[in-house]
Point group: C2
Chain length 258, copies 2
């Protein structure tokens, strides 16, 4: 298709990621194999699942001792009490105990999501006996990948660590940014003029979430393509200290739906 535009290419062939793996090196090699020379102007979106695996955020369910509350909830809804225990231990606060057994909670990072990001799918061979947890500090994860890509390739693209979240009022999940490095995750268009020369109001765009969503489309699910390179999106690099993806987490006092 002609014209300046955005392009997204999914990278695969990285194999099963294991604890201790050098994810930056795996991404650099996958980009190389795809004949993609990464640049500072690219955005590299990496799914949380492989970040968690590389960081060893994988739990053998046989080692989990469910508390009484977890056992009761699991029994009521036919869920695995060990998974429920992990959800509770990953949560700072439960917002809803929902019909069907779903738990909506606020994680220690401040993310509001289902089951605190604890996931039994795509956890590797023998899956079902292991669960992945969210990275302890997804911004640190993104910074680590960005630094490692810089060392290996000389390019420092923006890096986003993504995950799939549900949301109120709308069906279906969309991918959002859990962590980020080298990109302003919000684009504040307030004060810029619109096409009529009128000042725009309340137009702060969650560009890192939109980039994560775009990457989800390019990757597809379950395709063994956990990394997507986005080219042609003119993002801003943080001027001072990089706040990562924290600006996307709404301050609780501003939240109308606590």
């Amino acid at each position: 298709m002609p014209g300046d535009g955005m392009q997204l290419v999914a990278l695969g062939g990285m194999g099963e990621v294991r604890p201790g793996d050098d994810l930056g090196a795996l991404i650099a090699a996958a980009a190389d194999a795809a004949a993609i020379g990464l640049t500072d102007a690219d955005v590299v979106v990496v799914t949380q699942k492989v970040v968690s695996k590389a960081e060893g955020r994988v739990v053998d369910l046989a080692t989990v001792q469910p508390r009484e509350q977890a056992g009761a909830w699991a029994a009521r809804w036919g869920r695995d009490p060990r998974q429920v225990e992990l959800v509770l231990s990953e949560s700072a606060e439960v917002l809803r105990w929902a019909d069907g057994g779903l738990i909506i909670s606020r994680t220690r990072h401040g993310f509001v999501c289902a089951n605190a990001g604890v996931d039994l799918s795509n956890t590797g061979p023998g899956a079902g006996e292991r669960a992945t947890l969210l990275p302890l500090d997804p911004d640190e994860s993104a910074r680590g990948i960005r630094d490692r890509l810089g060392d290996l390739t000389g390019a420092r693209p923006a890096v986003i660590v993504s995950d799939s979240f549900g949301r109120p009022w709308r069906d279906g999940i969309t991918d959002v940014a859990l962590g980020a490095a080298g990109i302003d995750v919000l684009a504040d268009l307030r004060g810029t003029a619109d096409a009529d020369g009128r000042e725009l109001h309340a137009t702060v765009v969650a560009v890192a979430d939109e980039l994560a969503s775009a990457a989800e489309l390019a990757a597809g699910k379950s395709s063994g393509r956990p990394v997507v390179v986005i080219r042609g999106y003119p993002f801003a690099v943080p001027a001072g200290e990089d706040p990562g993806a924290r600006p996307l987490v709404m301050a609780r006092e501003r939240d109308l739906f606590p």
Copy 2:
């Protein structure tokens, strides 16, 4: 960038859209001017604003008589009582009267958003004295554009009508699909196997919302590029009757945050 991937190109040069304009013809001409031959495999994302303008969903604020409640709320927060009146008349139900004057409501379509989609920005020359309202039936809008593109170009791409919505718990707006034609807006991956051969659970992806978000990035705000063509995303065409974007609106009885 080499490799099979997704590509997004924004179309501009359509000028100011006015009530009665033939939006399908304007899009076909813009694609032609950009040397883009539309195909059945493309997704055309059109912002709500130009759809509303073409459909005459533009209100002269001088004609609006605010009810007492609208006047009181406007006075309290320094807002235009006529805009508040429009928000209330576009709302089926107000969910939150928020500090700062923001009204979160459910529109008659079932969308939960700020100010019922009533917008004073980008309404054309002399803006500030006019407001745009959401299309009465965004799915019908999308179908109309798709049919017209089919007549003019022979191609029947998927069409999405997009708008920017805020959301709880996360800062920043993201674009979502208000209306759709020729595309399954949810991709239900339940029952497909993940990379480990394990069945995926609860993986219904709101692909039309993700496509709208991706298009927002490619268009940029206030750039006079209200249409984006997305190529390389393998969407599904509805097998039977096209439900449009309605499957994205969560049934109230399933909503945990009413």
